[in-house]
Symmetry: C2
Subunit: 292 residues, 2 copies
Amino acid sequence: MRDFTTDHRWLSINTATVRKSHGVEQPLTDIIEACVKRDIRAISPWRDQVAAAGLPAISKLVKKHGLELSGYCRGGMFPALDTAGLKAARDDNRRAVDEACELHAACLVLVVGALPGALAGQAAHKDLALSRNQVSDGISELLEYAITNKMPLAIEPLHPMYAADRACINTMEQALDVCDALDPGKTGALGVAVDVYHVWWDPKLEAQIQRAGKERLLAFHVCDWMLPTTHLLEDRGMMGDGVIDIPRIRGWVEAQGFAGYSEVEIFSSGNWWQRQSAEVLDTCIARHRSAV
Amino acid sequence: MRDFTTDHRWLSINTATVRKSHGVEQPLTDIIEACVKRDIRAISPWRDQVAAAGLPAISKLVKKHGLELSGYCRGGMFPALDTAGLKAARDDNRRAVDEACELHAACLVLVVGALPGALAGQAAHKDLALSRNQVSDGISELLEYAITNKMPLAIEPLHPMYAADRACINTMEQALDVCDALDPGKTGALGVAVDVYHVWWDPKLEAQIQRAGKERLLAFHVCDWMLPTTHLLEDRGMMGDGVIDIPRIRGWVEAQGFAGYSEVEIFSSGNWWQRQSAEVLDTCIARHRSAV
């Protein structure tokens, strides 16, 4: 297991972590400059942030600084009510692959979606199995395009509390079942993003990380689970402030040969998004060394 | 699958559902009378509610009305930091068995506990595997006592969002692994309480219900998962108001031969606990017929 205590060369910042500074939305260009200033070598930006700044501008800035992308957030949201909806998702996912390629991301992260309409508060149906089939079909179709474009797809199993509205793939085992069905050869084209927030509770986590192996472990995300957790989406904690034994999980992942970035992804409307970005980034660096 | 549309003979009320009326704590005696008045044949009371009214008084009232207990809430909370804590949990669980016997409950429901101290906001450690071992040991020891007293123990796998503070058994598969290890003969002494709120998201749910079989299916709890869910503990929905396909899950359970009560358990500080108990009970009856 790599020693993170002496530097932060393997730290990546998911740009959602500093999406807001003192509650105010931050331009991605500013976030990038702030990372570069701290010798942070990798980021993982969100599509809406890239779109707001313009893909060409971000591409140029990333190249100028020699920044790496530990991932690109995000593709997915495959389920839909009708053919038009499914096609729109397909087209949007192909654009996400294109953007990820332009930015030379290590992978496109997939938050696969769940019940159509649920994210807006009104699910069109309750048939989770149907959504899961649509997700498999969607990934299968996207995989061909991604292989052609040499962009690995990383399925991110989301915590079961998001099963209705964000992702109906909710365990590593389930994600790996999809990987094995669609990419039986373990070619590296399809794998998983392991976010400790989503999977830390899973009694089968260690075994499934071993099952995944190096070829399927495409990304590793960290933050912490707070006690109490006061909001289902935006109350993630800074590493070390919660109950997740992050080093243990990182040990399992690295034992399989994972040697990529440890990406900090914290959604925190009540705490970290209310602070200054500089403080948040400095804390990420400190905690990367002490708690990851 | 039984037809629930014409009556509510298989409805049970978990008394937490009407714990508060207009936000005010209700005596268990009043709750029982309100249930009896509506020809509700079964309840599942909580230990603190019973203690407040006095076990003899409740026992007498239950007998007088010929009420059944679909379960007794609850034993568990096994993990502790030291021998004294483990012994205190053991002793308390034996008392819970005694009370369940006095009330002729169908089973004692076990919410097994997780990281010591976490429920109070400060976990003493992050070793979930250790807690899981303590849970297995605790159930194993309690099982002997429960068998002697002829009180079935129902492990309730809790939603993974409670893995830190309430229960580190989080899937049906995990609960059944414990059952198979401690009661390989499927004697009926140890099984699971299937609460749709906790397990509806699980891609292996149908398979694990089949694995459980009639001998292990000791209780069936219903409520609904709301969109959005605004509180991790106390924002459960009334059946039919959320996204859980309850009839589908009930069908799976009954296909295994389960023929017990469908127990309504709703924690809802912002909605149902703010209404009058009478309205809540009437709604439970209506939804039992239309949405379960």
